[in-house]
């Protein structure tokens, strides 16, 4: 990284005019929580989310992208004592040209490639040759693992080779090698595919093979079918817990117990979208969860909808039912929201929004059988949208909090 910064600036000086965009979101939050100091303590964290993009989007070439956040508690509470006060999400230099298969990145970045969905401090290269082959490769130090023992023996590397073209048929082969403190913890290979079904739709799938345990860990296949105003997305997923959670699951205390249960989860269902007119869309969702050992599958059903006007006004809703085998795993959910720019035609730079969600639990939790959360928000932009001020009040009543009031204020400045 030390070398990368001067190289970037040298290259950028030689490049044609690029756009520098710096966005700072400063977010003030006020709430009350039980902390080590006592109950109902004032907590007032201030967050700053800063993103920097320096790129010539027309001609491409070298560009810089960075994003991270930091937090300080103005009330001085101990509420965040177990939680680090910041994170660098990504910071990388990229080389990419329009209409070119090449993309090279150096720095902290998130990798999506076949079986890999992880952050790395390192190098990634993507290229291809016409419609026949595309190749990606990456390597470096995994960014999402603790570095208490240094980074010696921490490696995340892998790549993907794809043959074919999505317009007809594509087969991808990918692999990942991950070690933490020299222990191999998440080594896997995978096959992904896209099969085009002419003008009707397509089928996509990914199967991942855990080559620490030498067994398949995940199969995930989905289809997309469009028939005029109707879009259907059937899916089937299958997971083997021992292999899916694997050694990686043992690295934290949350998921480790699932490796060793010999359980499998098969999930199938479909989403349907019907848009009879451009301004209105209705949707249906169904999911079936089935297990090999547990004898308590579950179903989820939902009805969704939204209506949008030409001037970006929108209302939407969702009504869902998670129907587990016992009352302990069953709830009913409903949500309605509204988005109203230019309220009453008074100010086109103002946006009002409202959101209400209600959940009923079949079995009470801490003697409460329901929860609701309501929020109202107002935002206004200034100076040609270079400044945005947004305030939201949230009121929630749920099994964990009798009455939870939260105030959020965001000041966005785009430089």
């Amino acid at each position: 990284m030390l070398l990368a910064v001067p190289v970037f600036f040298a290259c950028s000086l030689a490049a044609s005019a690029a756009d520098l965009s710096v966005t700072s979101d400063t977010l003030f939050q006020f709430l009350e929580r039980d902390t080590p100091k006592g109950n109902d303590q004032q907590v007032a964290p201030i967050y700053d989310y800063l993103s920097v993009d320096y790129q010539d989007t027309e001609n491409g070439g070298f560009s810089l992208h960075a994003y991270g956040w930091a937090r300080a508690d103005m009330a001085g509470s101990d509420y965040f004592s177990d939680d680090p006060d910041g994170e660098l999400a990504y910071a990388y230099i990229q080389y990419a040209k329009p209409y070119s298969p090449w993309q090279i990145r150096l720095g902290r970045q998130h990798i999506f490639a076949g079986v890999t969905d992880d952050s790395v401090d390192g190098l990634s290269v993507v290229t291809g040759w016409r419609s026949l082959v595309s190749v990606s490769a990456f390597g470096g130090v995994p960014a999402a693992f603790d570095t208490d023992n240094g980074t010696n023996g921490d490696v995340l590397a892998g790549g993907r080779l794809a043959i074919g073209n999505e317009a007809v048929f594509l087969l991808g082969l990918s692999a990942q090698y991950l070690t933490d403190d020299s222990q191999e913890i998440d080594n896997k290979a995978g096959v992904d595919t896209t099969i085009a079904l002419g003008n009707v739709g397509d089928i996509h799938g990914l199967s991942s093979y855990n080559y620490d345990s030498n067994r398949w860990q995940e199969h995930r296949y989905e289809a997309y079918v469009r028939m005029g105003p109707v879009v259907l997305k059937p899916l089937v997923h299958h997971f083997r817990y021992n292999d899916y959670f694997g050694e990686r699951g043992q690295r934290d205390s949350v998921f480790g117990y699932l490796n060793g249960t010999d359980e499998t989860l098969t999930l199938f269902g479909a989403d349907g979208n019907w848009s009879p007119a451009g301004w209105v869309t209705m949707g249906l969702r169904y999911r079936r969860y089935a297990y090999r050992i547990r004898n308590d599958g579950a179903n989820y059903y939902a009805l969704l909808g939204r209506a949008v006007s030409d001037n970006d006004r929108e209302i939407g809703f969702e009504a869902g039912r998670m129907d587990g085998a016992t009352d302990e795993t069953a709830y009913t959910l409903s949500r309605i929201y509204g988005h109203l720019p230019n309220p009453l035609g008074l100010d086109p730079k103002t946006v009002l929004t409202a959101d209400f969600q209600w959940v009923r639990y079949d079995q009470p939790i801490f003697d409460q059988d329901h929860a609701y959360t309501g929020s109202m928000s107002a935002g206004r932009s200034f100076f040609h949208e270079m400044v945005l001020v947004k305030a939201t009040g949230v009121y929630s009543r749920n099994p964990y909090y009798d009455q939870d009031v939260r105030m959020l204020i965001t000041l966005r400045i785009v430089y």
Binding site: P98, E166, A167, F169, R226, L304, S375
Partner: protein, 154 residues
């Protein structure tokens, strides 16, 4: 496993040759930015519907009602398509090592965005996590991203 993979590769090679004859390259068809702003949540196939000439299956990117939940295949292998409209920070609001605030609070007031953990998810995750823990693991499956979970799940 070999018995499965060898025929699959042969099958793929035949189709790949057909693909080579039919279309230009994939990334070589993409600008860095979408030439026109696509307001709202676009259905890409409203315009990109000439399946014989398109190098991508833009149907994957149609922003349907549930696109916030099921854009995994679209984004995973074709991130440059996403980046024609979205800056990387847009993705990092949810996909990162740790996001600080849950996405619906980070982008409070944006009720149109189908962000995860909206409302009282503290209670609901007891049920969702029992029914499908693989969904939790996808984002909270590394030591640093699981730190928030570990405050209670010790």
């Amino acid at each position: 496993m070999k018995a499965t993979i060898i025929p699959a590769i042969a099958f793929a090679a035949v189709f790949a040759l057909v693909a080579l004859c039919r279309a230009g390259s994939t990334r070589e068809n993409l600008p860095l930015r979408h030439p026109e702003e696509a307001p709202g949540r676009p259905m890409c196939t409203d315009c990109h519907n000439d399946y014989d000439s398109e190098a991508f299956r833009y149907s994957l990117f149609d922003h349907t009602l549930t696109f916030g939940d099921d854009h995994r295949f679209a984004a995973r292998n074709n991130t440059p398509v996403c980046q024609m409209c979205h800056r990387p920070a847009f993705c990092a609001d949810c996909h990162g090592i740790r996001t600080g605030l849950k996405p619906s609070l980070r982008d409070h007031g944006n009720v149109k965005r189908r962000t995860p953990h909206r409302g009282d998810y503290l209670t609901r995750h007891r049920i969702d996590g029992r029914i499908d823990p693989t969904t939790c693991f996808r984002c909270h499956g590394s030591p640093r991203s699981a730190r928030q979970c570990a405050q209670c799940h010790r």
